[in-house]
Amino acid sequence: MFPKGTKRKFSDSGDEPAAGGEDVNQPSSVAVRMLSSYSLQRQSLLDMSLIKLQLCHMLVEPNLCRSVLIANTVRQIQEEMTQDGTWQIMTQALSAANAAAQCSADRLVATEVLCRQTEATQGEQVLKPFPAVGSEGCPAEEEVVVEEEGEGGVTMSTVSPQAPTSYLPGTFGMDPCWEEENGEDEEEDEDSEECGSGSEEGDSDRLVEDSRTAEQVFGTFEIKNPAPSPDPALEELFSDVDASYYDLDTVLTGMQSAPKMGPYDLLESLSSHGPSPLSSSTSCRSDLNELDHIMEIIVGS
């Protein structure tokens, strides 16, 4: 996922030297680290909030005050991410993922959830899939994976416990356009698919970094780096995938671990399609994260 020897701590502990080659076009690594740390926290908060909103489907009517407060928090994060430009990247990736569906990138997430809350009171027991960015037809849940730039590149993301109705995981590897853009994403998504149901409980179990701030009780996430970087060759990325998955394995032990057949299958299928240039390793990672999300959503429950 990123070239060997390139290490970037996800918290700005300054223990390790800044990352190497992929940072060529980045601003100073310290600034990036700080930005990443903040982005990570923000992303985690967003994930958590979305889960909270979705977990409101129970027999008793959900607490409207709580839902409104969480939804407002989500809106706040989204607005900030929109200003950052992060939001656009995320929604674009998700839009690509849902090529079949019509997704408008403009509508805010929270409103959907709120509407769904009130609709739920009409007696609908099954919540409609939470559209990532809006339309009814969009089946994927809104899950943003924050990429962790540290040793081993853990793929963890919070997951909606509810599987979307129409998205078929089987189609994932088959979509050529998807592969071209997000070649790496599928593997990552498969990973997150397996550990997907961790949700909030699993979050706190994830341990990759020794240094964690007190607030990161929800464990490590992958940081989504918004800034694009020069593209490494696809083979180079592929060569690292095995190692990173190995690391992923070590991380995943002790949590919900499912046999990881998926990634390797996909890996083979990907390599058979031949390499295609990717914009950057980091955006690749971010795309992978998007796929993670999607996959988690699919197998979320």
Partner: protein, 469 residues
């Protein structure tokens, strides 16, 4: 100095009320209530969730103390009268009446359960021998009459003493029933049921100073009722947007002014309080006064709005001030000044650095209540770890106390507690990380005249009294 007057532990086993009579009343023998006091842990030592106390309220004279729990039950305590033979028992509260106020319901239209948890109890001032209180769950408000009966008619012709119908052929003579003295019985009867007026969950009720009307408040609306009329209520505040997608703010509490029967205040999840005058127009959507403190930009975070959400408002007894409780602070507002509170008290500012964790475990949504003492000089509110805090508005001193079983020996003086925020922990201090966030004091009440407080910690009720030296 606060000494522990008595600890009441709500019984783990559910008090089985017999099948309700035709009038819907539930009776408690006075002798039985005495038994409850002395054998707390009768059947099993664990408490069910239904026993968790969800509201505590003294009546206006302070003679009675009512608690409501998650199981829909109301337990009323009465203060012992002063007697010369047992002067030390003065001031003790003993169980007076227990009744099932609300039962779980199922809304068939929405396929949702309606919880029987008692959200609020408010007493009416006593006007005759009986006591009246309003109790509410999420959807329905009920007016209960609690009355004593110490006589009953005996000597019916058609029924025998057990109530069995007598065979008319066995009746050979007529007699006039006479009233005989019996043991004191306390009956609770539901006199009014105010239902079907709230789409959302009721969070507050408040009796008007005119003693004829009251308001019930849910997340989006405030309804005005007449105590005599159950099939009609007036909606006086409605903040529901036309499009629910635009909803960003809900009502969190509302209260009538203690003297001005036309004035009410309601708080929002955005940290603002609006004062409304019902004389102005029928629908009080436009406020007369708007109390909101500008946000401090230096402490801004993603949680700023959540922690600014007001969980409780209380007018002072004087009617001049209004107290609001948000997640980390208690603020006292002068009704004449809308721009900022006159006093702000930090309840547990050490939690400010832990907001993310508290958001994750949902503790950040806990709704703490706050209370004034009778003279409006001290305010009290709850915190975590079964701590509660008192702030003296005049001396600016504050104290942290703990409601726990460890120091629950009767007549034990409560020791002030301290949460260690710095590096070095002194003896007896509690570190922030060792706080138990499952032990929270959300509900408490202060006697209207004396320094007696009732503090609810989960299923336990603690009553503390100021030691008279």
């Amino acid at each position: 100095a606060l000494e522990l007057l008595k600890t009441h532990i709500c019984k783990p086993s559910r008090w089985s009320c017999g099948p309700p009579a035709a009038e819907g009343n539930v009776q408690d023998e006075e002798s039985d209530t005495r038994k409850i006091n002395n054998s707390f842990l009768r059947d099993h030592n664990y408490a069910t969730e239904a026993d968790i106390i969800s509201t505590v309220e003294f009546n206006p004279s302070g003679e009675l103390l009512a608690t409501g729990d998650k199981g829909g039950r109301v337990v009323v305590f009465q203060r012992e009268q002063e007697t010369k033979s047992e002067p030390q028992r003065r001031g003790e509260y003993n169980v007076y009446s227990t009744f099932q106020s609300h039962d779980p319901e199922f809304d068939y239209l929405k396929s949702l359960e309606i919880e029987e948890k008692i959200n609020k109890i408010r007493w009416l001032p006593q006007q005759n021998a009986a006591y009246f209180l309003l109790s509410t769950n999420d959807k329905t408000v009920k007016l209960w009459k609690i009355s004593e009966r110490d006589r009953r008619p005996e000597g019916y012709n058609l029924k025998d003493e057990d109530g069995r119908i007598r065979d008319p052929s066995t009746i050979t003579s007529l007699r006039v029933p006479v009233l005989q003295n019996t043991d004191l019985m306390v009956e609770a009867t539901a006199r009014r049921v105010f239902s079907n007026a709230h789409t959302y969950h009721i969070n507050s009720i408040s009796v008007n100073s005119d003693l004829q009307t009251y308001i019930s408040t849910d997340d989006l609306r405030v309804n005005l009722w007449n105590l005599e009329i159950t099939d009609q209520s007036f909606n006086i505040v409605d903040i529901k947007p036309c499009n629910m997608e635009d909803l960003t703010e809900v009502i969190t509490a509302a209260e009538f002014h203690p003297q001005q029967c036309n004035t009410l205040a309601y708080s929002s999840s955005r940290g603002s309080v609006r004062l409304c005058d019902m004389r102005k127009q029928a629908l009080c959507d436009t406020h007369c006064k708007f109390f909101e403190e500008p946000e401090d930009p230096s402490t801004r975070s993603f949680f700023s709005e959540i922690i600014s959400s007001i969980s409780d408002i209380k007018f002072s007894h004087s009617g001049r001030f209004l107290m609001t409780r948000d997640y980390l602070t208690v603020k006292v507002w002068d009704l004449n000044m809308e721009t900022r509170p006159v006093q702000t008290y930090q309840v547990h500012d050490y939690l400010r650095g832990k907001l993310c964790s508290l958001y994750e475990n949902d503790c950040i949504f806990d709704k703490f209540e706050c209370v004034w003492n009778g003279s409006d000089s001290v305010i009290m509110t709850g915190s975590y770890n079964n701590f509660f805090r008192m702030f003296d508005r005049n001396t600016k001193k504050d104290v942290t106390l703990e409601a726990s079983r460890e120091n629950s020996k009767p007549r034990a003086i409560l020791k002030p507690r301290k949460v260690c925020v710095g590096g070095k922990r002194r003896k007896d201090e509690v570190t922030v990380d060792s706080l138990d966030f499952s032990k929270k004091i959300l509900h408490s009440a202060w006697h209207p005249q004396e320094n007696i407080i009732a503090v609810a910690a989960s299923n336990n009720l603690y009553i503390f009294q100021d030691k008279v030296t």
